[in-house]
């Protein structure tokens, strides 16, 4: 593993570096928990790493909570998410996903940006953010930003919409619905070991009900079940208007079948495709049990 490294200290310097390196082969490095492993397994020649971890701008490193949304800079770590009381209260799915990511040590360095941009089908924070229908704020080397829904962000395993002159600047999550009374929100991860594991299957959900207990918002995402994390839109639509605590067995099954229609799992060293589907089906039903 060998590479050259450049350490921009501000976003402005970062933009300059990206422009200068357009004709070269470069990668970004944030917490390095994916990148170093990848480069050790498959070294890349003449690689320049643009080190994001010394950039001080709070838009890039900070977590801000305002009345209509939460914004996380790309460099916010899993640890920072876990420790934030408000996130734990408003978005249990995100808190739990960050808490199941790897280990205490890795959570200190692993960033939101790295989890999204590595585009692994089993990215835990990424899966929670899909269930929350987050928006990705992408900046290009002229300093212009655009915001795209996370459902358009992943193109395939290890592939995102980010172009060579762009990077992820931050992620936005909308505030919960003003009418929401109860929030049913969790991250369910099945692995072959309890911790430190890429999931065999994961399911993230964030469901809000109104005063009457009727579902007014539903976000469900599946991980490790398809080439990318997927948002189970039909399953979400199916829930709207139903009473959360009055979902019958038949409806649970129909919901789970709809979730499963988004799955296209593979058989690998961790589990067979059949097993993944069975688990996902049962996990989906378990939301209401």
């Amino acid at each position: 593993m060998d590479f050259e490294i450049i350490n921009p200290a501000t976003t402005l310097e970062l933009l300059g570096t990206i422009n200068e390196l357009q004709s070269k082969h470069f990668r970004f490095g944030a917490g390095y928990s994916d990148l170093l492993m990848e480069l050790k397994k498959k070294p890349e020649e003449n690689l320049v790493v643009i080190n994001l971890s010394q950039i001080k701008d709070t838009a890039f490193t900070g977590l801000t909570i305002s009345p209509d949304h939460v914004r996380m800079g790309a460099m916010v770590t899993a640890h920072k998410i876990v420790m934030n009381e408000q996130l734990n209260k408003d978005y249990p799915v995100l808190h739990q996903a960050a808490l199941t990511l790897a280990s205490t040590q890795i959570r200190q360095v692993a960033t939101v940006g790295g989890n999204l941009c590595t585009a692994s089908p089993s990215g835990d924070i990424a899966c929670a953010l899909v269930a929350l229908i987050a928006h990705c704020e992408i900046m290009d080397s002229t300093g212009k930003t655009k915001s795209i829904p996370i459902t358009d962000f992943f193109l395939g395993p290890r592939k995102t919409v980010i172009k060579k002159n762009e990077f992820l600047n931050g992620v936005l999550v909308s505030a919960n619905n003003k009418l929401s009374k109860n929030i049913y929100s969790a991250f369910l991860k099945i692995g072959t070991r309890r911790s430190m594991e890429c999931s065999v299957v994961s399911l993230a959900y964030h469901i809000q009900t109104d005063d009457d207990g009727d579902i007014i918002h539903a976000g469900v995402a599946i991980g490790a079940s398809a080439p990318t994390i997927r948002f189970a839109k039909d399953a979400c639509d199916y829930l709207i208007g139903k009473r959360f605590d009055h979902i019958h067995q038949k409806e649970k099954e129909e919901f789970a079948t709809k979730v499963l229609s988004y799955a296209d799992p593979i058989t690998d060293i961790r589990a067979t495709a059949w097993y993944r589907k069975e688990v996902l089906y049962n996990l989906s039903k378990s939301i209401f049990e």
């Binding site: 593993m1 060998d2 590479f3 050259e4 490294i5 350490n7 490095g29 390095y32 928990s33 170093l36 492993m37 050790k40 003449n46 790493v49 080190n51 971890s53 010394q54 640890h79 876990v82 420790m83 934030n84 009381e85 408000q86 734990n88 790897a102 280990s103 205490t104 040590q105 890795i106 200190q108 360095v109 309890r194 911790s195 430190m196």
Partner: protein, 182 residues
């Protein structure tokens, strides 16, 4: 051909000067871009207490504290140590040789067999103590109560031990917090 040769020589020559606190001592050194902190600590500073296990972030034998938080030094670029405060197992011992309470507790509980995981375990337990002691100071952060046995287990998930079966290690950690409670 000549050009290639030049380029590869250039590559070798690019070094970064970094400066950081290592066990409360200011140090400065020259490193390659891809040097990881674990190699720097062991090979350049000859501090062999930090153990190389898997080099993949899995085992935790290489755990050190960076600004009081536990990190796998095998996956941490030395470049990013610049300006930071780094503590290794050698830094837990007082200058007169007195062991740190974490070390005492591990010994008292017979929590060490081959010892390969021990420095990493000690650093993680120390980090949990730091987190607990500093907990009340960060606005917006979850308030931290005395960690329960299960929370200690969860905290130490990134530290593998092939010998002890963990029970005595967790006992050793638990007792430290029981003491703090008094």
């Amino acid at each position: 051909m000549i050009k290639e040769h030049k380029e590869s020589r250039l590559k070798e020559e690019v070094l970064h000067v970094i400066s950081f606190m290592l066990n409360e001592r200011q140090v400065t050194c020259k490193i390659k871009s891809s040097t990881v902190l674990l190699d720097l600590i062991r090979d350049h500073f000859s501090l062999k207490g930090t153990k190389p296990g898997c080099y993949e972030g899995e085992c935790g034998a290489c755990t050190v504290l960076i600004n009081e938080a536990p990190v796998n030094s095998c996956l941490y670029l030395a470049v990013n140590a610049n300006g930071k405060n780094i503590t290794t197992i050698e830094g837990l011992v007082k200058s007169d040789g007195t062991l740190h309470p974490v070390q005492e507790s591990l010994i008292e509980h017979g929590a060490i067999q081959c010892g390969f995981c021990t420095s990493g375990m000690a650093m993680s337990i120390k980090a949990l103590m730091n987190q607990y002691e500093n907990a009340q100071h960060v606005p917006g952060d979850i308030r931290i109560e005395i960690p329960t046995r299960n929370e200690i287990k969860k905290y130490l998930e990134g530290n593998l031990c092939r010998c002890t079966g963990y029970v005595k290690i967790i006992d050793a950690a638990e007792q430290l917090f029981a003491k703090e409670d008094q």
